[in-house]
């Protein structure tokens, strides 16, 4: 691989590295403090989770879901009220809330997939609807969440008695374990491919990539070990990211989202139920928005009528910064994660530096625009001849 194709393939990763180094210096290394590194993940957990779902919607043809911020509020409100007013069991609340999110998603998916209401309009309506219902449920108050089981499920840290004292060694050990597993899995895959005589990438580049990832994982868990250890929320986020990465890259179900966005008519004539694809994209989106509502509720410890405001924009922005096509049909979960972290680093860095909230908006907007311009221009240049 020459330099040019490398840069093109990993543009956003390189951008992330540059931005990260920049903010590290600018904040005199404060960004790298263990607490800040831990918060980087926690504060952006909801973005990462929702961006995965948003990617599926965007894949179907650049369609977005504007209602997710309101869904976060609605589901958070229901959870908070059930636990504070009705003292309901935390696990029952979680299951009920996730089921409700699915129902919300099916409601939107039905109109979009089967009745062909334009997604923009349908979810704009949802944005008002769910926000309104959420506020009504909250009775315009801020409701605190004190249920310990609920908070432990989403917002605690993993601690192994005896092992974790000042330094949470469990986090570091987990990091090394993950690094080892990655190497073993890669080697195993290569052997399997070699046996069947399939083509594969060069060993050097593949293991170099794994080495870099391993290094990052170990470094990050080292930081976590010096704060409070592995946050449970990180496990939720990782689970969602892995599930969605797997669905989009390895399953037939995931392939259909790309197909619909690439050419809906051809997909239909290939015997794929395109209505169902839309339906499921929006159902999954709302499920993840609901989960985000629970995550946010647990992290903040309360829900009010403005919870989740403009979250949809963070999720959508992450997808486009992460290289998803605005016309659908292309984009990866990996890219979206990089996009979300990039936004997160910018937010975090500017907050540490104490920059005004207003300027954060300006920078976010500029980054989104630059990312999309770069994407469009570089695609045009390398586009097909003639």
């Amino acid at each position: 691989m020459n330099v040019k194709t490398f840069v093109k393939k990993y543009t956003m990763v390189i951008a992330l590295v540059v931005v990260f180094i920049f903010f590290s210096f600018w904040t005199d290394g404060k960004l790298l403090l263990a607490q800040n590194m831990s918060n980087l993940l926690l504060q952006n957990a909801y973005v990462l989770v929702m961006a995965c779902g948003m990617l599926l919607c965007i894949l179907t043809g650049g369609n977005i879901d504007l209602s997710v911020g309101s869904t976060v509020c609605l589901i958070g409100a229901i959870a908070a009220q059930l636990m504070s007013k009705h003292n309901m069991n935390a696990y029952a609340v979680i299951i009920l809330c996730l089921l409700l999110s699915v129902v919300i998603g099916m409601w939107q998916g039905f109109w979009i997939g089967y009745i062909h209401i334009p997604p923009f309009i349908c979810t704009l309506a949802g944005m008002f609807l769910f926000r309104g219902i959420g506020r009504a449920i909250l009775e315009s108050k801020t409701i605190a969440i004190n249920n310990k089981t609920f908070l432990d499920t989403f917002a605690s840290y993993i601690e192994i008695p005896g092992l974790d004292k000042d330094v949470k060694w469990s986090a570091f050990i987990a990091g090394i374990a993950v690094a080892c597993i990655l190497v073993v899995v890669t080697a195993f895959n290569r052997i399997k491919k070699a046996k069947k005589g399939y083509k594969q990438a060069s060993a050097v580049s593949q293991f170099a990539k794994i080495a870099v990832i391993d290094l990052l994982v170990i470094a990050y868990t080292w930081k976590l070990a010096h704060y409070k250890g592995i946050p449970v929320m990180a496990l939720w986020v990782l689970a969602i990211v892995f599930i969605y990465a797997f669905i989009t890259s390895k399953t037939a179900f995931g392939r259909y989202f790309y197909a619909v966005g690439g050419n809906e008519k051809a997909t239909k004539l290939s015997g794929i139920n395109t209505n169902k694809v839309y339906f499921l994209a929006y159902t999954s989106m709302s499920l993840l928005a609901g989960l985000s509502g629970l995550l946010i509720g647990a992290r903040i410890g309360s829900i009010n009528g403005d919870t989740g405001n403009s979250f949809e924009m963070d999720a959508i922005g992450s997808c486009f910064i992460g290289g998803a096509s605005a016309y659908g049909g292309s984009g990866t979960v990996g890219g979206v994660v990089v996009g979300a972290i990039l936004l997160g680093v910018i937010n975090q860095g500017m907050s540490i530096k104490g920059l005004d909230n207003n300027w954060q908006y300006v920078v976010k907007g500029a980054v989104l625009l630059v990312a999309v311009i770069f994407d469009v221009v570089s695609n045009k240049k390398t586009g097909k001849a003639g």
């Binding site: 491919k193 069947k196 399939y198 083509k199 390895k250 399953t251 037939a252 179900f253 392939r255 790309y258 197909a259 690439g262 050419n263 008519k265 051809a266 997909t267 239909k268 004539l269 290939s270 015997g271 794929i272 139920n273 049909g329 292309s330 390398t382 097909k384 001849a385 003639g386």
Partner: protein, 511 residues
């Protein structure tokens, strides 16, 4: 006046990694119709894009001399100013706007305040008269057929005071009648002194209309043939295009037609999806045996595509009735999934719009209609998928650097092969091929015919819908003729001629 109105000298144009044009020379005399022929990817369209300024001066080397002066066109606008107008294969008209609006798009007739609509429509109807288009200038483009849309494009060119008209595959989506009309129009313009360059795959049309024929192969000019007597040797053009003698344009095959009927359709009626009273297919019955190629002939709008798509899991039309048997078993196919499971495949005429995902790789396209074959428990085995795609690439000799290549980067003929791979991978018993050779070159056509022969040799049934009669006569065992939704004739290919088919269509019109 100079001897040549246009001289292109030693034009060389490179794309990253490809030399699209290599020292091409083209000389066109005033008032002649000059045809440009060559396989897909030979460089015809590239050459015309160089001429029109789509590829600006500086991005190629060589000289363009037009009317005795050297031209350095930077944009399309520069060349149009000199009277060079290009009409592309894919029409550049906006369906929701009227004929008049389209004609003066980007070139609006302005009045004191904004557009002078009276003048626009008046001038539009004048130009429409010149091309013999009998429509109101206020009619929307979407409400007229492709043949008439092509005329609008030409009228639009006339409105720009055209001196040199370039037509890229003007008849590729027209039926024979409309094509003939268009060609005659070109001849009448010629008599008025206009020069045209026409790119086409249809050799009979070129022989009919062109005065000179320049053959291009692999980005170089092979020869320019004089066709003043309009009786050129087609074999000579073909051998020039493909670089070898194509002794037979249709590969021979053993006719092993089984007694078993692969597919039988009885009393099939389909209504229009929007105007539900209108019958698009009216009480049609036909059958195709195993090992047989059956052809469907007819003019555009005869209902052949609609018939095929309605059979294929009701993907067209409303209120469909009739009986469908596959291998003697009555089938009720409610959707495309059912149709594929029942062993049917429909290879669309519109490979870009309805067939392929251009941005996706060959491998992903090939497996799309039966993804479960490379899956276990819903998880795709990517290695197996690539291996399958590789297998079909070899089998169909698709020209591509790898199966990871995006389909949109392939030439028309190779795209068609990917589309065929996709449906062969679905492993159907009955294949319906809708215009399988449209817009692809002679060499690729031959290969597609060979694939069809392979399929019937394996005992499959093939239905071929085509607007090119020679192709039907050359390839099929039996030919059905449709007109206005009705089946009007059936004849063994051995007894069929183009005249008989046309006669069947015309007689049914009179009734």
């Amino acid at each position: 006046m100079a001897e040549y109105i246009l001289e292109m000298k030693n034009i060389t144009k490179e794309f990253p990694g490809v030399k699209a044009l290599d020292n091409v020379n083209l000389q066109v005399k005033p008032g002649e119709i000059h045809a440009l022929v060559g396989e897909n990817g030979a460089g015809k369209s590239t050459l015309m894009n160089v001429l029109s300024g789509t590829y600006p001066f500086g991005s190629y080397t060589g000289d363009i001399i037009y009317n005795g002066e050297e031209c350095k066109f930077k944009t399309l606008h520069d060349s149009e100013e000199k009277g060079i107008v290009i009409i592309h294969q894919e029409l550049a008209l906006i369906p929701e706007l009227s004929i008049g609006e389209n004609m003066f798009l980007g070139n609006e007739r302005k009045g004191l305040l904004g557009i002078d609509w009276d003048r626009t429509y008046h001038e539009a109807s004048e130009h429409m008269q010149q091309v013999g288009l009998k429509e109101e200038a206020t009619t929307l483009i979407k409400d007229i057929g492709t043949g008439k849309q092509q005329l609008v494009e030409i009228a639009k060119a006339l409105s720009k005071d055209v001196k040199l008209l370039i037509l890229d595959e003007p008849t590729s989506s027209l039926n024979e009648e409309d094509s003939k009309m268009l060609l005659d129009l070109l001849i009448s313009f010629k008599q008025k002194g206009m020069t045209s360059i026409i790119i086409s795959h249809k050799l009979n049309e070129i022989s009919y209309v062109a005065d000179k024929i320049t053959v291009i192969r692999d980005g170089s000019t092979i020869e320019t043939i004089d066709n003043a007597d309009h009786n050129v040797d087609e074999a000579r053009i073909i051998s020039g295009m493909v670089g070898r003698e194509l002794s037979d344009r249709y590969p021979s095959r053993e006719h092993n037609i089984s007694d078993k009927v692969g597919m039988e359709v009885k009393g099939w009626t389909v209504h229009h999806p929007l105007y539900t009273e209108k019958k698009v297919v009216d009480n049609v019955s036909f059958n195709v045996h195993r090992g047989e190629i059956v052809g469907f002939s007819g003019l555009q709008g005869a209902g052949r595509t609609e018939l095929a798509m309605s059979i294929f899991g009701r993907s067209y039309g409303s209120d469909i009735s009739g009986e469908l048997k596959i291998d003697g078993e009555t089938k009720e196919l409610k959707n495309v999934r059912d149709a594929i499971k029942a062993g049917l495949a429909y290879v669309t005429e519109d490979r870009k719009g309805n067939g392929l995902i251009l941005a996706d790789s060959i491998a992903k396209n090939v497996t799309m209609s039966r993804l479960e074959k490379v899956c276990s428990k819903g998880i795709i085995n990517i290695d197996k998928e690539n291996a399958v795609a590789e297998e079909y690439r070899e089998k169909l000799r698709t020209k591509t650097p790898s199966v990871q290549q995006a389909v949109g980067n392939l030439s028309g003929g190779n795209q068609q092969k990917v589309l065929l791979s996709k449906w062969m991978f679905a492993d159907p018993e009955v294949l319906i091929l809708d215009e399988p050779t449209r817009g692809i070159d002679v060499g690729a056509k031959y290969e597609i015919y060979c694939i069809m022969n392979d399929l019937v040799a394996q005992g499959k049934s093939v239905v071929m819908i085509s607007s090119e009669m020679p192709e039907l006569l050359g390839m099929c065992d039996r030919i059905y003729v449709m007109n206005e939704g009705k089946m009007v004739a059936e004849m063994p290919a051995s007894e069929a001629t183009q005249e008989k088919i046309m006669a069947a269509i015309l007689q049914s019109d009179k009734k």
